[in-house]
Symmetry: C3
Subunit: 343 residues, 3 copies
Amino acid sequence: MFVRNAWYVAAAIAEIDKPLARTILNEPIVLFKSRRGEICALEDRCCHRGAPLALGDPTETGIRCGYHGMEFNREGVCTFIPGQTIIPKRARVKSYPAVAKTDYVWIWMGQADKADPATIADYPPDDQVNWPRAYDMLHLKASYVMVLENLMDLSHLSYLHKGSIGSSEEDSAKASMDVQRTPGGMKFLRIMRDADAPKNWLKRYKTKAKIDRWSEFEYVAPSIILQYSGGVNAGEYDAGVREGGHLVRTIHAITPETEKSCFYFFNKADGYSKFESPDTVRTWASTTDVFKEDAFMLEQQQLRLENFDTDKLMDINTDVARVQMMRALKERLRQEQELAQAS
Amino acid sequence: MFVRNAWYVAAAIAEIDKPLARTILNEPIVLFKSRRGEICALEDRCCHRGAPLALGDPTETGIRCGYHGMEFNREGVCTFIPGQTIIPKRARVKSYPAVAKTDYVWIWMGQADKADPATIADYPPDDQVNWPRAYDMLHLKASYVMVLENLMDLSHLSYLHKGSIGSSEEDSAKASMDVQRTPGGMKFLRIMRDADAPKNWLKRYKTKAKIDRWSEFEYVAPSIILQYSGGVNAGEYDAGVREGGHLVRTIHAITPETEKSCFYFFNKADGYSKFESPDTVRTWASTTDVFKEDAFMLEQQQLRLENFDTDKLMDINTDVARVQMMRALKERLRQEQELAQAS
Amino acid sequence: MFVRNAWYVAAAIAEIDKPLARTILNEPIVLFKSRRGEICALEDRCCHRGAPLALGDPTETGIRCGYHGMEFNREGVCTFIPGQTIIPKRARVKSYPAVAKTDYVWIWMGQADKADPATIADYPPDDQVNWPRAYDMLHLKASYVMVLENLMDLSHLSYLHKGSIGSSEEDSAKASMDVQRTPGGMKFLRIMRDADAPKNWLKRYKTKAKIDRWSEFEYVAPSIILQYSGGVNAGEYDAGVREGGHLVRTIHAITPETEKSCFYFFNKADGYSKFESPDTVRTWASTTDVFKEDAFMLEQQQLRLENFDTDKLMDINTDVARVQMMRALKERLRQEQELAQAS
């Protein structure tokens, strides 16, 4: 079961220069821009013979099927049928609320009358909107829940990412961890004081001195994680310093494709580069490489857990944030079920 | 369910220079020529250990299994067992009536006593048997029914093939359409008068003048479509002229592999080239490219219709021939069921 | 159903220089050497989040999970959890008895208290332990039973391997065959006297004279076959001569991965080369090529027998050893079931 009444990232805006077929929450969807520029999300299956509309062409107000030429507007209503003048009422496909915000097309998979774009996650915040940004997407053969769990347990950095962004096992062991529930999910603050910088940071910031490293992660159920993290010289964090070293705002948007696969969108605003000349800014590109380390692990984990009773798994102390995240997600799923039963 | 009491194209004769394994109507079949030249079609599974006979070698009267050497004749009866002289009666594999006609091996999947080669579709007709021919086959991950439906609704030419053989949307809208049931299925005649020639024709016939374009399609249930179509100068069609421009006789034979896949054989006799010297005749090769446009669409359509209730789809006016074709096919399936229940 | 109380070859020792993930009898297993050198076989699924331990690193006494750092010893007991000092009793993964013998890691999939390494097949015998050896493995999409059946019916050599190691059909027809049950399975002796040498032998032994060819095969249920075979000059076999020509001791170890796939390990000790200088010995490498002929046939046979009632297949005279082998295997499976019910 999925949470349907939520905004999911469906695609990067740059992906829909041509109609894009993408399965979201098990439903085939076509994402495109009408020729007048509106963002559209329709059922990717013509009501005539079932052809994918994504193989058709955008029209002024919608899209034309590439098989036999039926046209639909962004509400999914058929506006033209070749060879006939009467258009029956049942000539329509499902439509989905869709809006553009911050590099992405966001889609609402639930009851259309509840779709309020104002509830889309704010990213980046107003005072950081001009930080240089870079983004990418990984299509994973793993449940979106596993990606969320991965991000909620940063203890994995010392093992899975020990060669890139992981701090040492010793530094990780002394990290402080503060976890809180929020109205829309939960958040945590993890701080390692007086720690060594991870290998990838050393390549960029040219320092081997001790640092304070912090990570603020906010989970917005069901599928968004907002990250604010960085590193400053040891002792500076408690003095309120945040700038000068590694400094990022990242949104992680994990959109279920099926129960066993997802699209992992990530978008990093780089606070370290914010004062550089626009001509020389080079937003650090290694994020995808690091997340591919996760991707490989998650896909293997998915295979190990198929046909396996996950109740046999056990939580450990470092799971404190992950456990709270799962509670928030289950609570959200429970609300969704109540809503479905009431209507 | 499939119609079993029917002749299907199993392979091009040229495909069985060596034994060929092919699944037809979900049954594994080996097609080959015995060394004395007879066309044979047997169950592709030795009755000893289940090895595919297609991995064996033809003998004078049949085939020898490549695993442990048992031999079978074209009736599927075992004629030799290494290491023993007595051949039990149960030592046999299923055999299928198979005959060669017009470039193809035809196979009968039903009751052998009903297999009459005289009922195989006549193609090409006697007066056109010397037209130069070209043929090809596409192995599609789509139901054979979808291919039939595709061919029965030529309105798709203006959309799916708009860059190759499609007439303009306007010309398509003014096409006349005459549909009739036949004893073995149905047929239609579609005429576009005073129309522009499609792009592919312009490349060949070097004219931009208006043409009359006609298509006669006869559906012979369950899986054959006989096409006779062409184009002449505008005004000539009603005067009885058929020659001088594009002019083809095509047989479309769509053989189910499984419920979700098929072999689409097509064979085009080219009336435009019929007076050319045999040395210079060059039968137009683009048919496969055009049909690959269909293939891609059909495979995507198949995916969209899996786990989908096709009763939700709707017919439109241009479906008139497709709807009649489906009636003829369902009627044929119903006859088949009655036959099965009676026996 | 599989025989669990048995030693299976899990891997060549050379394969586990790094942790190796391998599914055996449907169970995901990680095979590795601890840093102190012990052979280990554990469930390849961390009890924390299900990550494959094969993606982790060996420790002094076991392995550390590469995801969040939990450590396990060779008994599967957790010895370290990052971030906590108390280790709950349930923190463990399944462990399997595993030992090294003659190039291989052997694993016991059943009740650990019944695992006696002394019962692992002796190969090669003491007086032949210094013969040069060569080995390889094929990962087959076919049931392990099909590989056993293949090896128990050497009549297939004249057909499937007629271009490599097969004798002629005529020589095969005159082979004597002696089959006997043994406490652990069965064995057969097959002799072709005064026969032609197969093609591959001619390449090596430079003789076209007639030979006596013999094959002793011992099946040790459920999955081991010990082969002793060779060829000498015609007339020499009955005089007790075994050396001078083709002479091999081979162990075939076929380990089920799933019901429909297996690992086929083979290891050939070459008696022909035993007196050669170690510098010039070149153990004959063609075995893998020959067995790939089997592999292709077996995978195709597997496909033909899926969704097919194998009771419809029939035995022939040359199946005498195969039939005895199947009886021994079924007897062993029956014992296993009784054992399971008793406990």
